[in-house]
Amino acid sequence: MTPVSPEPAASFERQQMEVDIACVGFGPAMGGFLTTLSRSLLNPDGSPKLESGCLPGSPLQVICYERADGLGFGVSGAVTRGRGIRASFPGLDLAKIPMAATVKEERLVYLLDPTGASQRSWALRAGDKLIRALGSFLGCREHALELPLIPSFLQKHDGFVMSLGQFNQWVGEQLTSSGLLQIWPSTPVTAPLIEDRAVKGIRFADQGTSLDGTPQDGFLPGMDVRAALTVVGDGPVGAVGRGIDAHFGLPPGHEHSEWALGMKMVIELREDSVLETGTVLHTFGFPEPEIFGFLYVHPDRMASAGIFIPSWFRSPVRTAYRYLQHFVLHPYLWRHLQGGTLKSWGAKSLQESGRRGEPFLVGDGYARIGEGSGSTNVLSGSGVDEAWTTGVQLAEAVAELLEKKLPFTRQNLEETYVRRRRASWVDRESRVAADSRNGFPHGLLSGLFGMALAGFTGGRVVIPPPSSRKKGASLEERCGARIPPAELQKFRDEAAAHSLPLHDQIMNRCGWPEIPFDGKLLVSQQDALLTGGNVQAPPGYANHVVFLRPDVCRNCEPKLCVEMCSGQAISRGESGVPQFDREKCIFCGACLWNCRAEEAGEPANVDFRAGAGGLHSALN
């Protein structure tokens, strides 16, 4: 048995439990899986249809384990066409899902730079000048240009906006009330159990340890749960999915090379807001050309506003939180958001490699669904519905195998689940999208051109992939034209001396205005951590972010993990080795893909393990 996780040194006895199907991670993919499977578990007369293999005479034992403390603590800025979700719930009444509403109006908006601080190429600056010059003719207002058309592959106007947290909560309530299966929150799963190239189950995180994992009083070794099938839906940074990837590798030619950090605010709009429920804005161009944004208007004057910081944004001082505030302050948005109140806030990593990042979808004893299985469509910018649909497909396959009494082997899962997935719109559209973002590492314009090319040709014509995907430029490369070397060094020294990230100093010096904190919507990053739900870190668990080789970190500059940390949970540390404070961690996972060690040909130096707690908010 190979648990893909570190073992504590002390000897101990682990509890073991056996179930039929062990599921990891409760998100939209698992929602789709469990919703569909639960409908196959009963006969029309209400008697159990499928018998447990591990508890003969009992109904099928299906149990889902979720790391977060609540089923509604997921984060996503979600507007979705909802094709898969609607297929699962014919006649879906959105009024039953808090914060959900039909899309009424959808706009694609290019945001000009009202500050002069945004780092734009000469071509973009020339284009901006032209837009401003032709402002009245083009309909440019509030430093923004509303585009007359939205490419068909981006459109969501037959869909709905929602809060992923509220959606998950709604789905979870229905599932648990059925009594047919169980979903356990507050249960971090640390590793898959692998034996003879088959996944045999999962292992929970140890409890009763010090921060470094040393067993202490009340030590409770994480239980092993053995299962005939392990369904992996723990997202792009989940410990089980990554453990399987580490053990089996990725299919030839596949890689997890592109990521983004999505960060959002949930805002209660002021009472006289004129924004109509169901309004959807997609933005690009500001605060930096590489950063895309959104605004979705929910019922009851609630709105979600957020940005995506992609891995191909090569700023060495990239920070999502400050850029999000500049985004909110853009005059085009601020006219609506001013006077609003921050109700919640959150962030998550997005696996943006799409189909090129698809892992082995199945193997003996396991199947992958959702974002961690490469289901996100990077052309349409859609992931929730695709994830849901992969869960549905797996559930249909599992029900078929159970009814035929066939084992969950790689071959059987290939012939049922993978076959369904390959024949579906999810896979068809993901093929079109696979290389659609190749142009972005060269710049915004080539990126947009590449998307249009792939979108309008059905993926037949694309820009070739970049030869390298460097994570971050040096400070000199990025800021050398604006800040003299001596001043850059001074900023470095000050950041090191005060254990602070560099981005505020650098952005201020580059002309970004200070954020005018108002204590309601514009608050410090630390205040945001306390808004709308707080961050919890239950005692007795080890640190889940670990810096493996201190020397590598000591010599790394600038430290992208510090700059990108959504909760300021990672600081520089006195010796130059980052320090982790789990009481601020919101489990966004940005530290994982912002480690620069891989650029030097070394394995990543950040280990992002299973951990407990996180953000307590169901509004995101």
């Binding site: 309530e173 009330s177 009594g179 169980q182 409770l220 239980m223 908010s617």
Partner: protein
Amino acid sequence: MSNAYHIVVCGSLVPDPLQTLEPIETPAGPALKNEMLLPAVLDPWAAHALYEAANLAAHAPGSKVWLVSLGAKAKLQQVMMTIAQKVSFELIPIDGPASGFADAHATAAFLAEAIQSIAGLDRSRMLLFGGWESASRGAGVTMQLIGERLGILDQFQGVDQLTVQPDGTLEILERIEGGRHQVSLCQSPPALLGWATGNLPEPRNNPQIGMANMRAIMPALQRAKSAAPAPEALKYRSASPPKQQRQTRIEKNLSAEEIAREIVAWIEKA
């Protein structure tokens, strides 16, 4: 003499105190804004009582723990998925409001009725546990009212420790002013203990306990009785949030001493 106890814990749900709670006026009286959107938790005071109950039961063979919990059914279901992993108990759910604006008398009546209906409960061995206070801004009298309805004369509030003496006597430490405890001896159950924080840490999550609990919890939830307090039972003249204000100011050049001096001055002024 048998030291086996029948421990009934009253623990209702409350909106997660970590959330921003905003009272609003509705046609039916005051309520919390977007209450159903907010995550719920077992009232933290009652949670301490539950952990103490489980600990006592573990050391008194033959004992049993019931959790009588009032809250919206959907929320009860969610919260039980967390609580049920920690300690063994049998759930007696009551589907009703838990926003903190419920009348303590009405709540006590529902809970007392539910306790009286527990099959197999031996009231001569009953210890009735609950929270001394409530995170729902309750009046702090619900437990006493339940005790009175059930005819329990020995009541202790602000309890931090319960020790069973070799002769079966219960030694109880109640909080009193000055950071001290009053020590009482109670000869035997029935008794009511409104717990303060106790001394026990939150138990570890144990999925096996959770699985065992849920076999009975899910059917119990499906049978949960509704408890809707009469709208005329209590009228609020007004409700307002606690006077709490966050003021953010960025100071880059002040020393720690200067910041401390300023905070002290601000507190004195407030």
